[in-house]
């Protein structure tokens, strides 16, 4: 009896040795383990679409009686795939009955998850399959939220994101009179975090910013939506000398375009249908830029409070000059790509039909 117990204890140690931090021992003996199982993707989380925490509960008769296996938590698995995972592991356990099987069961789970390591089902926004083939045999790009592994067509989630940004701007305009610096900060935080439309788990704006760039929308556009100007700035942008200057730049730009002396981002090849867009944890350069710019913009209302997490606030003056040129660029881009704007205004919230007085 004691020898058997010794063997089981040694097996638990073996599981721990194989899975390291991914193995949590809930109870020593009889063993109760939580093992974090991920597909074989060489630890590249951007290539990972499923994962599960398996609960393995043995009783005193183990290994004569197979352990109870259940899912503690999972990402990217729907009910059917969870069921498939559990039943396959339970069958394996029956097969191996009376052998020590904990490591074998975990390995079986890794195999299964590696086989299932692709997104499944429909895009929650348009309800069409995530991996939908068009006539040319290519796939629409999709993306995955890192916090919950829920997947969406890139185009669909961006449309939703812009809709939310517009709603925030709308509500800001409504209560602009009571906007204080504290209120601004709270709004900023809201813009940088959103809930997953499927499970409401919080995700970071950074999770999504990289596809805002990919999706053919100009990189300055997402910040453009967020940017707020105070009265002075607006007055300045609308004054005659600025208008003249803009016209001058526009004619120059036109000249350059006509002489093909302009190197522009080739929007049409940014997203090739079917191209897989990995969700990297690292924000892209443009995203960092955008974040900086956002901070600086709000700096006009709360200069002290916002600089906290910007590492490069030493070069504030040059940043400001930089920002001004960028703003001009934005004006150009709005003229150059009129298609961007209808797209944006399309989702502007309509006033509900008001009740009769």
């Amino acid at each position: 009896m004691a020898a058997e117990e010794q063997e089981v204890r040694m097996e638990v140690e073996a599981v721990q040795a194989v899975y390291g931090d991914d193995c949590e021992i809930i109870h020593d003996f009889p063993p109760h383990l939580h093992v974090h199982i991920t597909p074989r993707t060489a630890d590249d989380s951007s290539q990972q679409f499923v994962e599960a925490i398996l609960g393995i509960l043995c009783d005193a008769q183990y290994p004569q009686k197979p352990p109870h296996v259940h899912i503690v938590d999972s990402k990217g698995l729907d009910e059917n795939r969870e069921k498939h995972l559990i039943t396959t592991i339970e069958n394996k356990a029956k097969e191996l009955s009376s052998c020590l099987m904990l490591v074998a069961l975990c390995e079986e789970a890794v195999e299964l998850l590696s086989d299932m390591n692709h997104p499944e089902g429909n895009c929650p926004f348009c309800l069409y399959p995530l991996l939908v083939e068009d006539q040319s045999g290519t796939f629409a790009p999709f993306m995955k939220l890192m916090s919950c592994y829920h997947c969406f067509h890139s185009e669909c989630i961006i449309r939703w994101w812009k809709w939310l940004q517009n709603e925030i701007i709308d509500s800001k305009q409504c209560d602009s009179t009571i906007s204080t610096s504290a209120g601004n900060q709270r709004e900023m935080e809201q813009q940088q975090q959103q809930n997953c439309p499927v499970c409401r788990k919080l995700f970071d704006a950074k999770d999504i910013e990289h596809i805002l760039d990919y999706a053919g929308t100009n990189s300055s556009q997402p910040t453009d939506v967020i940017v707020e100007m105070d009265g002075d700035e607006r007055k300045f942008l609308e004054c005659e000398s600025e208008n003249n200057r803009r016209q001058q730049f526009e004619s120059l730009l036109k000249l350059q375009q006509e002489n093909s002396g302009l190197i522009e981002p080739r929007k049409e090849i940014v997203v090739v249908p079917g191209m897989y867009l990995p969700t990297t944890v690292m924000p892209t350069l443009a995203a960092i830029d955008a974040a900086d710019e956002q901070h600086l913009d709000s700096g006009s209302t709360a200069p002290e409070a916002v600089d906290l997490n910007i590492p490069s606030n030493k070069a504030t003056t040059s940043k400001h000059r930089d920002m001004n040129t960028r703003r001009k660029n934005r004006n150009h881009s709005s003229r150059r790509q009129p298609n961007v704007y209808p797209n944006r205004t399309q989702w502007i919230k309509k006033e509900a039909v008001s009740s009769d007085p």
């Binding site: 348009c126 309800l127 939703w160 809709w163 919230k349 309509k350 509900a352 009769d356």
Partner: protein, 161 residues
């Protein structure tokens, strides 16, 4: 009085149309248990028949839900009300308005008519008394001009029923 106001007279956008057609097809393939979609040619207004779940206070009672879709569905929530007579329930007003957070503040574009219907049936099923909300008369009086429930500032205070 029955509420017949719709949240927006604007026609459905193309995206809303595509999505609703897709939902309709899904519904026809596998309708949520206890619900029947009454066929009309109006994609923007669905009338859905609901039968109370067996073993609950509303067992085998039949009610009708009216679902109106805004121009920018599913970014905006649909307007869902009970047609007269509305079931007696602590969260359902006599004019058919339903106090349920997912129809207003907690709406998410990942929800569907089908999932909303299931939530409403679950709300009915968990009720332990057949009665109107405490502020029914005041609320219904306020809505006399055919105001949409989406214009109400709802307070969601009870997560039990």
């Amino acid at each position: 009085m029955t509420s017949t106001s719709s949240p927006s007279r604007k026609a459905l956008s193309k995206i809303a149309c595509n999505r609703l057609q897709k939902e309709l097809v899904e519904w026809q393939v596998s309708p949520p248990a206890g619900f029947k979609h009454k066929v009309t040619d109006n994609l923007q207004r669905w009338v859905v028949e609901v039968v109370g779940a067996p073993g609950t206070l509303y067992a085998s009672e039949t009610y009708q839900l009216q679902v109106d879709f805004p121009e920018h569905y599913p970014m905006e929530a649909p307007q869902v009300i009970f047609l007269h007579p509305a079931p007696l329930h602590p969260h359902i007003y006599s004019n058919g308005h339903i106090c349920l957070d997912i129809l207003y503040d907690s709406w998410s574009p990942a929800m569907t008519v089908s999932s909303v219907c299931i939530s409403i049936l679950s709300m009915l099923s968990s009720s332990t008394v057949k009665q109107r909300p405490a502020d029914n008369d005041r609320y219904v009086k306020n809505c006399r001009n055919g105001r949409s429930p989406k214009e109400t500032r709802w307070w969601f205070h009870d997560d039990k029923v």
